[in-house]
């Protein structure tokens, strides 16, 4: 693993990327502008529609491919945009001002509804399937409302015969093409920017995002609302270009078609869904005359086969060749590490950093934690030990999720955390390292570290920066573990020990004052344990972090702790120095089986 061949230097590729994108965009623009010179009317008609649908496919891809939210609801936002335009133009009239108003409405109404749908779909503890359920219900509701709208919506026959933008067939072809290119370029720039990596981070590991202090619910709501607006814009285009809107444009079946196209083209690639949508919709229009049902059958069958065997779509076949570099360990490369001055974003409070008073946790009648009282001051490294089922991990959870505990109080830097969710507690200066390394598997080491700074410094929506600013302590962890040489390597290629170290570096990058570590050395080799132990000791005794450590390896605990707390059957039975605990009879009893030795 260490002696890898020199791979292409990614930062150079990163610099070349805007250029490639510009050339691509230029070619695409030329195609849509010159297209009308070569295409017959039928093709132009079909392709105009296909390109509008492709805009929708991009929004589906951003939600599903990048963020992991399977949605059937984009069709509804599209339909609302289309109906908002058509209804205004039909019932009030058509003038340049009204057309402008139609455009505004077609975007603003979906955005507002997007906020509502997002609020409904994403709350702390909501499941992915629930968001999908809402995305199913929403278009059905919209369709039924259209049906029951009478003359206002044209009911089942839709609206037709209004006057839209005064462009001909060629004009709409070009307009749709320009919009598609603009949306695609914006999407590509965004997903490669520092902020865009957030989407992948949420897809990979939403829990970790929350424990990096990111409000993932709010991010997903904002994304839903924004993309609802884009879908509304596409609806506006469609209403103008086609001159007719119908209930089918809002429906859930159309929503599933968008997902099918996105899947076939290749989720998570932006360009794949665009090409997939245009290709399939264009072919459909051409073939449906001759073999209408057979064609649908083939698309359906292909879709099933793809989902099972090639979940990343046709684009995955292409990227398998072009993105070779990502599947290897890359030595060197990646952004430059820049030591940052601590941001001191936390309030300084008097008294202990962590103060637990009569903490209690029960599941039904079963008490898992009872009457735990404990203070932790800066600079302390407190180890939490005890046999299985003593309540150690439960206690960690109670410290990082204000809704977990059943009784008592937990104060961090003087503030009661009752009712707070993890990202709010992280903002108080708490970092949590999980038992199984919780990192972002499909991202590079550098991107993972960047995510842990995203809550402190708002990332750019446009650029991917070449520098990575981290606190000196985090940089030192990277140096000690050799991760500083692997910044451009994808995390899934790291060893287990490297992932544990990476997660620790991510947690330290948050500039927490209290670090909670749940068995950080499980499954590590002797050398790796020694390294982690040295780092923890330095963080606490020299840099003034406080740390709470859950650990089974008592030799390790005795080596590094400044204090040991023993839990047994949900109660705190001992709290003292390493010496006191090692020589205690209670501990011997607990560990030899309940009877007195």
């Amino acid at each position: 693993m260490s002696d890898t061949v020199t791979a292409p230097i990614p930062s150079a590729a990163g610099r070349r990327r805007p250029l490639i994108l510009a050339i691509l965009a230029g070619v695409a623009l030329a195609l849509v502008l010159l297209g009308p010179l070569f295409l017959d009317r039928f093709s132009m008609n079909v392709l105009t529609r296909s390109m509008i649908y492709a805009i929708l496919a991009i929004t589906v891809d951003l939600l599903w491919g990048f963020t992991g939210i399977l949605t059937f609801g984009q069709a509804a936002f599209f339909g609302i945009g289309a109906y908002a335009s058509a209804m205004l133009l039909t019932h009030i009239g058509s003038s340049p001002a009204l057309l402008g108003l139609a455009l505004v409405l077609a975007i603003v109404v979906p955005v507002l509804l997007g906020v509502a749908v997002g609020w409904l779909s994403f709350y702390y503890g909501s499941t992915p399937i629930y968001a999908t359920v809402i995305s199913l219900v929403f278009p059905i509701v919209v369709t039924q409302l259209v049906y029951s709208g009478g003359t206002l919506t044209g009911s089942s026959s839709g609206l037709v015969g209004y006057f839209g933008l005064p462009f001909g067939l060629e004009g709409f072809f070009r307009l749709s093409g320009i919009c598609l290119v603009a949306v695609a370029v914006a999407a590509l720039v965004f997903v490669r920017s520092d902020a865009g990596r957030l989407l992948t981070a949420i897809r990979d590991n939403e829990t970790r995002c929350a424990y990096l202090g990111l409000n993932t619910q709010r991010i997903k709501i904002a994304l839903t609302a924004t993309l609802a607006g884009v879908a509304g814009l596409a609806g506006f285009l469609y209403a103008n270009a086609s001159g007719v809107v119908a209930p089918e444009n809002t429906g859930f079946v159309f929503g599933t078609e968008l997902v099918v196209w996105t899947a076939l083209g290749g989720r998570g690639t932006v360009l794949g869904p665009v090409l997939g949508t245009i290709g399939i919709d264009y072919l459909s229009a051409n073939l449906s005359g001759e073999l209408p049902f057979l064609w649908q059958l083939i698309v359906g069958a292909l879709f099933v086969v793809m989902i099972i065997f090639l979940p990343n779509g046709l684009a995955a076949l292409v990227t398998r060749f072009t993105r070779r570099g990502r599947s290897e360990v890359v030595a060197g490369g990646g952004p430059t590490l820049v030591p940052e001055k601590p941001l001191h974003h936390m309030k300084t409070a008097s008294g202990p950093l962590l103060s637990i008073e009569r903490l209690e946790k029960s599941y039904g009648s079963q008490k898992v934690l009872e009457d735990i009282t404990l203070d932790v001051a800066p600079g302390e490294l407190v180890s939490l030990v005890g046999p299985n089922g003593a309540g150690k991990t439960t206690m960690m959870r109670c410290l990082t999720d204000g809704k977990e505990r059943s009784g008592g109080t937990v104060r961090i830097a003087g503030q009661d955390i009752a009712g707070m969710i993890p990202n709010q507690i992280v903002a108080l200066g708490v970092g949590r390292k999980f038992q199984v390394a919780s990192v972002f598997e499909s991202m590079t080491v550098a991107d993972c570290l960047r995510m842990s700074r995203a809550a402190l410094e708002a990332p750019s929506f446009v650029t991917a920066s070449d520098a990575l600013g981290l606190p000196p302590a985090a940089i030192e962890i990277l140096r000690l573990t050799g991760l500083d040489k692997l910044l451009a390597t994808e995390v899934s290629l790291l060893s287990h020990g490297q992932k544990q170290s990476l997660e620790l570096a991510m947690v330290v990058s948050l500039e927490p004052r209290l670090i909670l570590l749940d068995e950080p050395t499980a499954g590590l080799t002797k050398t790796e344990r020694t390294t982690i132990g040295a780092i923890l000791k330095k963080l606490t005794s020299e840099l003034g972090f406080a740390a709470i450590l859950v650990e089974h390896d008592l030799d390790f605990v005795c080596d590094i702790s400044s204090r040991i707390v023993v839990l047994h059957q949900g109660r705190l039975v001992l709290d003292g120095s390493v010496q006191e605990v090692v020589n205690s009879d209670i501990v011997k009893t607990i560990y030899s089986g309940g009877e007195h030795v």
Binding site: L70, T132, V133, V137, Q296
Partner: protein
Amino acid sequence: MTLLLDIVTTAAILFIVSAGLLAIFGVLKIVNFAHGAWLTVGAYCAVVAGGLGLNPWLALPLAFAAGAVLGGVTERLIVRPLYARPLDAILATWGLGIVIGQLVTLWFGRDVQFTESLLPGTIHVLGTTYSLYRIFALGAAVVIGLGFAFLLEGTRLGLSARAIIMNEALARALGLDTARIRLVTFMIGTGLTALAGVLLTPLTSVDPTMGVAWLIGSFMLVMVAGSSFGALAVACLLFGGAQVLVSTFISPILGGITVAVLCALVLRISSKGFARV
């Protein structure tokens, strides 16, 4: 009085249509989005039985067998590779639904088909004259419900299925053949759904897309019910009742979305739905 009958018979029909989906979701934790296609297949079994000049009641066993066999093939080829990817399983089964829908279209054409009514006429109950068939549907729902109760509580297969629902890791550790139990459950679920398709024929028109209309309603009810048939019955009564009331007093079109909207709201309040009932 008619309103009351409407409510219970609507709930009964919803229960019949959703039961197969629930059986699969409860044990396999997979949403079979081709559910609508199986309803369609069942209904077309009735068409075929009619075409062959068979007694229309024979369509019921025929549909069950066809649905179960098709289900067995589906579980083996499509669902089994996707147990670890539940969202993809939704998509793959939806794709399968498209395929089945188009196959039906290729075979029978797009037109609406007519089937011989199973039980024509009306009956005099509770002081009003009411559709005999809808009363029969109520009975059928009770039989299906009791049948499942017996299957789950009274048989070894049911015990194994419940064990898997409660604690799959332990079931495996005790040497239960979880793969076989999943297969059989899927086949029972799809067989039953096809049978429900036959039962729908007197109530709705038969065409290749008929199943889709029922898919969302049953999907939502199953989400709310979790893995409990009791909870499903309660959900059908409550939301089916609401649907009848909205349709009668406000608008039939809005009635059509009542079930989905109410279920979504219930899930927003309690993510486990009625599963604790």
